[in-house]
């Protein structure tokens, strides 16, 4: 990069990105192609902001804008490159010569079941989604996943009857549907993974015993008197209690701190 170029880059003003991005004077723009049509957009924007800048309005296909709801999957190609790329419109920053399309929804069958009745056997999942066995391990799903989930990995785990592994591997899935859009076995991967996580949570994951103990203690009335005491306090006294409360230091090593007052434990 020559010096002159460097200067312009450095000078690029920040773009206001509210509901409608505003392009300040001198902002550097790059060409992107949205559904085949060229738009010049500020290079600092995400795909979603760039589309809004170009005049598109998201009535659906946008949710959290924080990369976690899965509403905004995008598929794109770079000019001259045969490869398909995938991303979340709210997270991926535009690059010059991107050819963009949104795939806010991809149809994929979802089986219905009663989680309390299906049990923890992998066979129940196999029976609800027999198409699982159409997988040929092409890995196109994994390549499409904007969350870097090992989709083939969880599909394989389920074929192998390993619900725990499938639940763990699919933990980051945000149900965007891109995997299903690419599957040559026409498998609704993300719905199967969700079922696996539900079965795992309902039947396999160890229960939090300390939580159950605490719930029993609460139910047995152990804390009733303390609660009544608190309820009876006036505002000032309550504030004093709050300010003077014992508190675990922010950076104390896990499991080392004990309060002096132990009657509430």
């Amino acid at each position: 990069m020559c010096d002159a170029e460097k200067k312009t880059t450095q000078k690029t003003p920040r773009v206001a990105t509210g509901d409608r991005a505003i392009l300040p004077e001198g902002a550097k723009t790059i060409p992107v192609y949205i559904m085949g049509k060229r738009y010049d957009v500020p290079e600092t924007l995400t795909i979603m902001k760039a589309m809004e800048f170009a005049g598109f309005k998201f009535l659906r296909g946008a949710g959290c804008r924080g990369g976690i709801c899965g509403a905004c999957p995008t598929v794109y190609r770079m000019a001259g490159d045969y490869k398909l790329h995938f991303g979340l419109a709210c997270q991926t920053v535009v690059e010059a010569d991107m050819y963009l399309a949104q795939i806010p929804f991809f149809p994929a069958n979802r089986a219905s079941y009663k989680i309390d009745e299906i049990g923890a056997a992998a066979e129940a999942i196999h029976a609800l989604y027999p198409e699982l066995f159409r997988c040929v391990a092409c890995n196109l799903c994994t390549k499409a996943c904007p969350m870097d989930v090992d989709v083939l990995g969880y599909i394989s785990a389920l074929k192998q009857g390993n619900i725990k592994k499938a639940a763990e591997l699919s933990f980051d899935c945000i149900q965007c549907g891109l995997c299903a859009s690419r599957c040559m076995g026409e498998i609704p991967q993300y719905h199967i993974a969700q079922l696996a996580r539900r079965v795992y949570g309902r039947y396999i994951q160890p229960r939090a015993e300390h939580l159950q103990t605490r719930v029993k203690e609460i139910e047995s009335g152990k804390y009733d008197a303390m609660l009544q005491e608190l309820s009876a306090m006036g505002r000032e006294e309550l504030e004093k209690c709050y300010v003077e409360r014992e508190r675990e230091p922010d950076l104390s090593t896990l499991g080392t701190w004990q309060p002096k007052e132990t009657q509430y434990l």
Binding site: V136, A137, C138, N139, T142, K143, L152, M184
Partner: protein
Amino acid sequence: MKISYYPGCTLKTKAGNLETAALASLLALGIEVEEIDRWNCCGAVFSLTADDLIHQVGPVRNLIRAKEQGANKLVTLCSMCYNTLARANLIMKNDPVKRDTINRFMDDEIDYAGEVEVVHLLTFLDQEVGWERIREMVKVPLEGLRIAPYYGCTLQRPADVGIEPFGSFSLMTRLFESLGATVMPFAAADKCCGSYQILNGEDGAQSTAATILKSAAEAGAEALATSCPLCEYNLGKQQGKLLENGLIGTTVPTYYFTQLLAIALGVAPESCRFDLNDGAALDLLKNKNCLVAA
């Protein structure tokens, strides 16, 4: 008379003469020809191509996992897995064109050229452990147990991936001899178990299975050993039905060769999961006093 007509791509290009002559003849014969609307390639290009490489992607991906781990050998137990992996491996090793196509398709993986050797456990026991060592390690000799070693199809076919030459059953034979059992060779040791025919041609599959079991029984075997879950399903899990239908006269309990190995090495029966075999399998070993006390 009017006929619907499918031309095909070549007749519209290089073999136009095949078509024009036919159409002219049919016209002369007074037959009206109607080319069907919106036709596509007849499928010859798809079905005649030897390139059904997508089937190799799955097995090759597993071999790449092994290569990534730094392995130069990948040991497997199931006959079918062995066969599939070994055949894919051969392609990657010996066929530069297919290798290149597959490597390019799998651009998400490191390149692979058959660096990992696929080994069936029987071969591994022979080459890396040795029968003598196994003989020394036996705690509960399978004395008096008459076993028929059953190979089925996929351990020996095709020849270039077979664990030993067609018609030879020496790996299982030497294994069971080392374990102290009596090996009963039988004529149907390499006959197909009926395979997936059990799903849509149950009668045929059952008579095939019955032939094998009878052959083993006639040879004096009282048990059958296999390394293939599909063979075990057809020959083991189906035996109740075969007996009921009068297709066999006596049961021949089936085992995986690994179960017999484990029992002889003194492994607790629970680790062998006989609950997944037919009930007769555990009973036979009990009767032969082959089980270590739990």
